[in-house]
């Protein structure tokens, strides 16, 4: 109900803005603020009160903008990790696993593509609009296709839940880009660069918050399990990571607390009644990666 009111409110504000240009913004802001307060949404009322060009900034980022953000982040991720690992057969295999998992994920209508970063560290990242990265080091640590499927499912989960976009929208750096969109980004490349650099810093250096990581862990096993992979493979994989020596600090900084993650995965398997199918496809993984890693 509150969501519906919110939508109505925004649609009303947008209509006024589009018909009246940007004149009378303060009046619209007051009406919107009062309307939000009357529905009991004090938080929204305060947000509107504090907003400048309020309406555009409150709206979710559309796919076209998401794609540009994802692509720009991809440039920086690849640059920071020293380039992609140029092995066409292995890249195709990793993408086939990713597409198989994405086929029945919760956001199956967009393209997902996976690149292998030529780096020894153990990590995986997802930028908006389906730009997914796994390191060569991660692929060396993985033992079978079911583990890879769950890792890619985890990253796909970040994309389906728009975790990075959420971080961007909560950041003050978005002022301008979220309000004015790509046209603004094209005219104000410095502001756009700040947004991208901030988002990459979160993705690569600081890590997403624990809640988002746990949510993606749950989604990862659910998505992989829908295709028929054994969900317990992800438990085995997380457990293996936990026992690794701390020679990869970056990974443990961006993906903390394995006990919580393991228990989230175990409770998801149990609550969702995910079947331990025994489908690990270790041979196919070994065949596809042997000699290439």
């Amino acid at each position: 109900m509150q969501n519906k009111t919110y939508r109505t409110l925004l649609a009303f504000g947008l209509l006024l803005l589009s018909t009246a240009g940007l004149t009378g913004c303060a009046e619209i802001q007051k009406v919107a603020e009062d309307a939000a307060r009357s529905t009991g949404n004090e938080r929204l009322a305060k947000t509107i009160h504090g907003g400048g060009n309020l309406i555009g900034g409150l709206l979710p980022i559309g796919y076209e903008e998401e794609h540009t953000i994802g692509q720009a982040m991809a440039l920086q991720v690849i640059a920071r990790y020293g380039g992609v690992y140029d092995k066409p057969d292995l890249t195709r295999y990793v993408n086939l696993v990713g597409r198989a998992v994405a086929l029945t994920c919760d956001r199956a209508d967009i393209e997902y593509r996976v690149a292998i970063l030529n780096h020894d560290s153990i990590n995986a990242f997802a930028a908006p609009a389906g730009y997914i990265f796994v390191t060569r080091g991660l692929l060396k640590t993985i033992k079978n296709e079911a583990e890879l499927a769950a890792v890619l499912g985890h990253e796909i989960g970040h994309v389906t839940r728009k975790h990075i976009l959420d971080v961007i929208q909560r950041s003050k750096q978005i002022a301008g880009v979220a309000e004015a969109g790509l046209a603004y980004a094209n005219k104000n490349p410095d502001a756009f660069k700040n947004v991208i650099d901030g988002a990459v810093k979160t993705l690569l250096d600081e890590g997403l918050d624990q809640g988002k990581e746990l949510e993606s862990d749950r989604l990862g096993v659910i998505f992989a399990s829908r295709v028929g992979y054994d969900p317990t493979a992800y438990e085995t994989f997380l457990d293996r990571l936990r026992t690794l020596k701390g020679d990869d600090l970056a990974f443990f900084k961006t993906h903390p607390d394995f006990s919580n993650r393991l228990s989230a995965v175990r409770s998801t398997i149990s609550e969702q009644k995910l079947k331990a199918t025994g489908t690990l496809l270790a041979d196919r993984y070994s065949r596809s990666s042997s000699g290439a890693l």
Binding site: R7, G62, A72, N95, L103, D109
Partner: protein, 159 residues
């Protein structure tokens, strides 16, 4: 003859339950195994009327009146969300104050204009730009993904 016609109608009677295709693309088959011939290829979000359920498979009728079996993990009781929900699309259209500054649609080869500007400002090398360009353009036909699932006995091809 009359009896046969009645029997067919009864077999095809829908249950009143509606499902949606939850996979990017899904195959409707004449029987409830992956060995049965494909009678239609369905797209994400298509509405299906349930005829009956049988373990991992659901017999459905499409809006075009084609009846067949679909793998249960390829359907959902709720309509799948699109890449752009209504509100996001609305926001995008409002924010787009200067349409000429917006770049070519996603999927075209080449970086988006804002990404290109970003690459220039961030000093991204040509090699890394090409890597993102290739990544953006990377496509695998749905048929290849089906073959991949089949060879791994995954999805509807599981035994």
């Amino acid at each position: 003859m009359l009896l046969l016609a009645t029997a067919l109608t009864m077999t095809d009677a829908v249950s009143g339950e509606t499902l949606y295709v939850a996979a990017k693309s899904a195959q409707l088959r004449s029987g409830k195994t992956s060995l049965d011939p494909v009678v239609a290829t369905l797209k994400l979000g298509e509405t299906l009327d349930v005829v009956k359920r049988d373990d991992r498979w659901v017999q459905v009728r499409t809006a075009k009146g084609v009846t067949g079996w679909i793998y249960a993990n390829n359907v959902s009781a709720s309509k799948p969300a699109g890449g752009d929900n209504e509100l996001a699309a609305l926001g995008q259209s409002v924010r787009r104050t200067d349409a000429s500054a917006v770049t070519a649609s996603a999927g075209a080869r080449g970086l988006d204009k804002a990404s290109e500007d970003y690459a220039n400002r961030a000093g991204i090398t040509q090699q890394h730009r090409e890597a993102v360009d290739r990544m953006t353009a990377y496509k695998i036909p749905d048929q290849d993904i089906q073959e991949f699932l089949k060879s791994g006995r995954l999805g509807e091809y599981a035994e």
